[in-house]
């Protein structure tokens, strides 16, 4: 046997290792635990619209979705109608992170398909994406009113995800918040 004939086999085994590795890392049912319940990473990036600089403070205040998207990502277009619906009908603000993209193209894209975002952060170098552990676009984060990441979803947001996962989570967050408010008002009365 000539040793060179082993090259295809070795190359293939290497590929399998990568695939198996990727497979382990990215079981879509298991959330990357490192990010859940962690505060949203700090950043200072340009806004897609206008001159202002956006920071983490802009995202804090109410329960919101943060959506990572790009014009080169066909799936972002697939989930776009659902994002529009959520922002209009469900009254949940959505912040966009325009990821590894050209801002000019991104503005054009939003003009063409309508803009579901309250604000759009320009992450053209992908720095914030790295901090967030973004795998690709689209990805969507659910943050609470204090800017803590509650949930992360890889892939498109559709009605099923909204009904089965996002809406129950948001309701639960709201309940917890109300209880807290309730509790603190009671404490106020007692004191």
């Amino acid at each position: 046997m000539k040793p060179t004939l082993l090259i295809p086999l070795v190359a293939f085994l290497l590929l399998v290792v990568i695939l198996a590795g990727g497979f382990q890392l990215k079981d879509p049912h298991i959330l990357p635990t490192v990010l859940i319940n962690q505060p949203f990473p700090e950043f200072e990036l340009a806004s897609l619209h206008g001159e202002e600089t956006l920071t983490k403070q802009d995202l804090i205040g109410e329960i919101a979705l943060v959506n990572v998207w790009a014009t080169w990502c066909p799936n972002c277009l697939v989930e776009h109608p659902e994002l529009m619906r959520i922002s209009q009908k469900e009254n949940i603000p959505i912040y966009g992170i325009n990821y590894n993209d050209d801002p000019v193209k991104a503005r054009k894209w939003l003009r063409r398909y309508k803009d579901p975002f309250k604000k759009v952060i320009v992450d053209d170098k992908g720095r914030l994406g790295i901090d967030l552990g973004v795998y690709g676009a689209p990805e969507t984060f659910l943050i609470d009113d204090e800017g803590v990441i509650q949930f992360k979803h890889i892939g498109i947001v559709d009605r099923e995800l909204w009904t089965n996962t996002l809406m129950p989570l948001i309701d639960q967050l709201k309940r917890v918040k109300m209880k807290k408010a309730d509790l603190s008002s009671k404490i106020d009365i007692q004191s």
């Binding site: 000539k2 293939f12 290792v17 990215k26 973004v134 690709g136």
Partner: protein, 659 residues
């Protein structure tokens, strides 16, 4: 009951597949022709039971049996009949059943059309196909059973087929694609069977070639249809997205293209044999890899099937066994293969080798771009990145450009040795005339002069001129020129047609990319816009009702310089069953341009966001694809693949007269 029958026939099919794997193999081992010949009837039985199974699933769809989970998830009582049938392969489980049916079909075809094979070889090939079928059947039975029930509580109404899939495209695209994917199992089986005997002669290449060409032609049709479907259905006028799943079908196609060419060299000249065997293994391995990427959920894509890690793990293990096993076999046996001939650096063999290398590098580039995110993640402790179309355009385009230049030159090259000087000299006139023609055409017809467009189209026209000249040279010295046209082999015409198709596609791609125009506007009824030389006027908006949807329909009148061109009726549909809206574009189709109109969102005052595209030469992309496929099918009609069969017939006739 019927669904259980379908499940049961799948289990029986598994039993037959196991028998098909074992019995002929034992027959080969013990040299018992009786056992070897059982492979024929076992293949037939396997096909029959898989067919019964898919018919049972069809029955469940047609009778709206929502107690079957798969039917409940993918159908609805108001779904039109043709989509109830095609919904069988509308999602993961059923589409894999179709995959198995196609596999059983190819196996049956091999057992029927195998007069040329020795009994021993036929048994080996069918045994390999048998073991692959066992793997597929185990996969569907263990992880993806389409016959699962939701009893005792089942829905009264199904949640409807995804509206994107309620289209002619779903009816034809997956079956064609699977014919190609799974068809590569046949050259794979030939390669493994031959390696197992240790005797690689050109007979092996002659057996494999027609099967490979047919599978490859089907895959070409499948990819072309997919591209066309995406163009008109997804509503944003693109025709290729470098999406992970598109890549998953494109890689086997590239490797298959290399295989089709290297088989020619192996058959005609007995060279590059071990390389060809390796390609045969790789073509099918890439099909399996594609199945893994699509169905495991490691990569996200528009084609997202329901994701289940268990399925991914199963396919990965299957992939390791099949590909790892065959590459190990290759490593041990391929050293015995010897080339029976030699060739020079400027011969046709060398040109084919260049073609092969470029195609393999191109598919490696696509593979890298597709799995790079995973690779990076593994290397960098979970850091995640992604590459988009920019990567593919930068890396892939230069490689295929080199390939196209080689394609223009190659018809002139001859087997064994061609003088380099003659090769280059002969290209001067075709190249210069192509350059002149294209430059003139661009100056006269195009709005702007783009160097890239001139360059790429020149190569395309150069290819066509070379092909035409080659055909002319083949007949010019003959007395009866027309008759000698008929005497050329079918595989030669297949080659001409295939290369011609590539040239047509190149023209389509580059013209669409550089000269497309589009506009997004707000239109109220009565408003109009102008794009390129066309004038679009929104006459009115209508409400229409389909079988399972409601739609807003626009009536848009298109005129060019005052002359009426067409009325276009794009729709925005709402499907209550799936709670989904869909953009249904309307297209005015033409040989030299498409006019594509899609409705965006409703705005205030009865106005609508409307998008209009002008897409020159876009049809050429798919015409080219169809020519390529036709070329692939044509080669199979070549007389030499039927030689032995006809000889057999003569023998029987002789015996008959003797009696």
């Amino acid at each position: 009951m019927i669904a259980e029958l379908g499940h049961f026939s799948l289990i029986l099919a598994l039993g037959l597949a196991v028998a098909l794997t074992v019995i002929p193999a034992v027959g080969v081992y013990q040299s018992r022709p009786l056992l070897m010949n059982m492979s024929g009837s076992l293949s037939a039985g396997l096909f029959v039971f898989v067919f019964i199974s898919i018919c049972c699933l069809a029955n469940s769809f047609l009778t709206d049996d929502f107690s079957v989970d798969y039917v409940a998830r993918n159908s609805n009582t108001s779904l039109p009949m043709q989509y109830k049938i095609s919904a069988i392969w509308g999602a993961h489980e059923g589409s894999f059943l179709l995959w198995i049916l196609v596999m059983a079909g190819w196996t049956l075809a091999v057992s029927v059309f195998s007069e040329q094979l020795t009994t021993d070889m036929r048994a080996r090939v069918l045994s390999v196909l048998g073991v692959l079928t066992v793997g597929f059947l185990l996969f569907i039975l263990l992880t993806s059973n389409p016959f699962d029930r939701t009893l005792p509580v089942f829905p009264m109404e199904g949640s409807d087929l995804n509206p994107l899939l309620q289209d002619f495209g779903l009816i034809v695209h997956p079956p064609m694609l699977y014919m190609g994917y799974v068809g590569f199992a046949v050259p794979f089986a030939f390669a493994i069977a031959t390696l197992s005997t240790g005797q690689l002669d050109s007979a092996w290449a002659r057996w494999s070639r027609p099967w490979t060409n047919v599978a490859w032609a089907f895959l070409t049709v499948g990819i072309t249809l997919g591209s066309w479907w995406a163009y008109y259905e997804l509503g944003w006028g693109g025709w290729w997205f470098w999406d992970a799943v598109e890549n998953a079908s494109f890689m086997p196609w590239l490797i298959g293209t290399a295989l089709v060419h290297s088989l020619a060299a192996s058959e005609k000249r007995g060279v590059l044999k071990s390389w060809t065997v390796l390609l045969a293994i790789f073509a099918f391995s890439f099909s399996l890899l594609g199945a893994f990427l699509v169905r495991s959920g490691v990569l996200t894509s528009v084609h997202s099937f329901a994701v289940d890690p268990e399925r991914g793990m199963y396919i990965l293990i299957f992939l390791v066994l099949v590909v790892g096993g065959s590459l190990t076999l290759f490593a041990f046996k391929a050293s015995k293969i010897e080339s029976t001939a030699d060739f020079k650096a400027s011969s046709r063999e060398a040109m084919l080798l260049i073609n092969n290398l470029l195609l393999v590098v191109a598919s490696a580039a696509v593979l890298l771009g597709t799995i790079y995110p995973l690779f990076y993640e593994a290397m960098n402790d979970g850091l995640k990145i992604s590459v988009g179309p920019p990567y593919f355009n930068k890396v892939f385009v230069p490689i295929v450009m080199m390939l196209f230049v080689a394609m223009a030159i190659s018809p002139v090259s001859r087997w064994k040795k061609t003088s380099t000087e003659r090769l280059l000299k002969s290209q001067v006139i075709p190249f210069v005339s192509a350059l002149v023609m294209v430059t003139m055409a661009v100056i006269v017809f195009a709005k702007s002069i783009e160097i890239v467009v001139i360059f790429v189209n020149t190569i395309a026209v150069w290819i066509i001129i070379s092909l035409g000249r080659d055909l002319y040279q083949k007949v010019q010295h003959k007395k009866a020129k027309i008759q000698s046209l008929f005497k050329q082999s079918m595989s030669y015409y297949g080659m001409l047609l295939g290369h011609f198709g590539i040239a047509i596609s190149i023209i389509g791609v580059v013209s669409t990319v550089y000269f497309s125009e589009e506009k997004d506007v707000r239109l109220e009824p009565g408003d109009s816009l102008t794009l390129s030389a066309y004038h679009f006027k929104l006459n009115k908006m209508l409400r229409v009702e389909g079988p399972n949807y409601l739609a807003d329909q626009a009536e848009i009148e298109v005129r060019k310089g005052g002359d009426f061109v067409a009325i276009l009726r794009p729709e925005k549909r709402f499907y209550p069953g799936a709670e989904n809206t869909m953009t249904e574009a309307d297209i005015e189709v033409g040989l030299f341009r498409d006019l594509f109109v899609a409705l965006g969102e409703p705005l205030d005052n009865g106005a609508w966001a409307v998008r209009v595209h002008y897409k020159p030469f876009v049809r050429w992309i798919w015409f080219g694809g169809m020519f390529i496929a036709l070329g692939g099918f044509l080669t199979v009609l070549d007389r030499r693949y039927r030689v032995k069969a006809s000889r057999k017939v003569t023998e029987t006739v002789l015996v008959g007269t003797a009696v």
